[in-house]
Amino acid sequence: MTENVTHRETAALGEGPSTAGSTPAHAPEVSAARVRRWGAFYYAEKVLRAMRSYVWTIVLYSLGQPAAYLFAMGVGLATLVDANSTNAFGGVSYIVFIAPALLVSAAVMTASGEFTYPVMDGFKWRRVYYGPHATPITPQQIAAGHIMAIAVRFAVQSVLYLLVMMLFGATPSAWSWVLVPIAILTGLSFGVPLLAYAASVREDKGQFPMVMRFIVTPLFLFSGTFFPLDNLPLGVRWIGWISPIWHGTELGRGVSYGYQEPLWLIAVHLVFLLVLVIGGWHLAKKQFVRRLGQ
């Protein structure tokens, strides 16, 4: 009964003189059902569309950043490193050693940008999340959509990174392409818990620069990126062990140049990264529901 009435009303609105020529909107029930299934995708679409306005910046950065790093470190610094050391990097040249680490780190760097300020923007500055929240889309779907869109960015950026690596001849193994899913996983393992944290920040007191300085930069530098973790004293080696970048990098080295690790250690890397993603997701979901529900 009610169903019929609402449907007729919506249809009548669609046929009204003010919107002549357009197809009528579908009934509320249809909307609700679609959003229940696809809501997260709708929100992801929104984020990706917004990204279009700076897509060239992303592409150029995704090509320029690896080119600059690989050239400076892999070629320039390598002249010092390769000359002064023999077999310090498991028998491969310095560029082959650092390339997978740089690719994985780049995803984490992107995560540290995309899961901080835009989240503050969503809840506080421009209140971007409150627009979709007034539609049938749920807070969980907004969080999931945000994550999905950034995962797409990780993928695009990692593919471009891989292409640059190939140009530098830094991908000896045919399995190097697996670096792309590894980078996505690593990016999310850092990004999703960060999303949960960013969603809990109510007032900008400079927390995000602190995250960069006290978490992202140390992780980037002390995760076996530029030198094997064993070169560090035990006092700081633990930073690598809890770092998603180290776990991702170790996996990445396995696929990009056949770096040998025991199977149990590979499993540890994977489980560590997955636990961070799943745990982060539960926290993020809770924060989004609580914050948008207020």
Partner: protein, 285 residues
Amino acid sequence: MSVQDSRTLLTTDGGPHPTEQVRRRKYGPLYSRNARAVVARGLMATKSSNWTVMASGFLEPVLFLVAMGVGLGSVVGSVQGPGGQEISYSAYIAPALLAVSAMNGAVYDSTWNVFFKMNFAKLYQGMLYTSLGPLDVAIGEIFLALLRGLLYATGFTAVMGMMGLITSPWALLMVPASVLIAFGFASFGMGITSFLKTFQQMDWVNFVMLPMFLFSATFYPLSVYPEPVQWLIQAMPLWHGVELLRQLSVGSFGPIMLVHVGYYVVMIGLGLMLTTGRLRSLFLK
């Protein structure tokens, strides 16, 4: 001709009232000799913000120094220093990292910070509705950036000392030299920021900064490049800063130092001209 003041107020000691003094003062069209008000505002804002964010700013180069110096230093061993003597890899990169941090701090303060205040907080619009001129604002903001740069440089130099990387008393000159480097970048950065309108354009600043950071003989000597590339890098400001600090760090002086310092003096002069011209056309259009 002149307007009579119907309510000229006198202070208790008989002098003209402060607001009256202000109205009678002579000002220049761009500069009212009151940049200290802008500085005072900046210090007050820092005080009420999260000062640990600011204080921790010098941490990044320290982390780079520890990671690269210790982690990679064991692989690299010793390298040839500016005077031709062998020095440790840590001692080699430390002054370069200081130069980079002077650049980064100055560029951040004069680009992102200024961009935000100009386009979002509308801070400068408010300031320029007072008797402040654009040059007061520029000088005040640059002074603040340099003050912060001075703090960071002092902190980093102290860390170098604690790590045993300072072997010459001349190394203390790295602190004022870092401020010079910061001055060069800050005076230019503000002028460039005035051209930028969107966050995407702001990203282009990084496009220039990243290669400069990586290629300016920061982590390895310039000699690894072919000659034309070397010339290109020597034309860039950061290389002059890196070389200047590296030479000071071991107390190795030479006429080339005058070139480095001269480069920054010219950069500061041109940057200030650009910034003032831009502020005039932006805010007094």
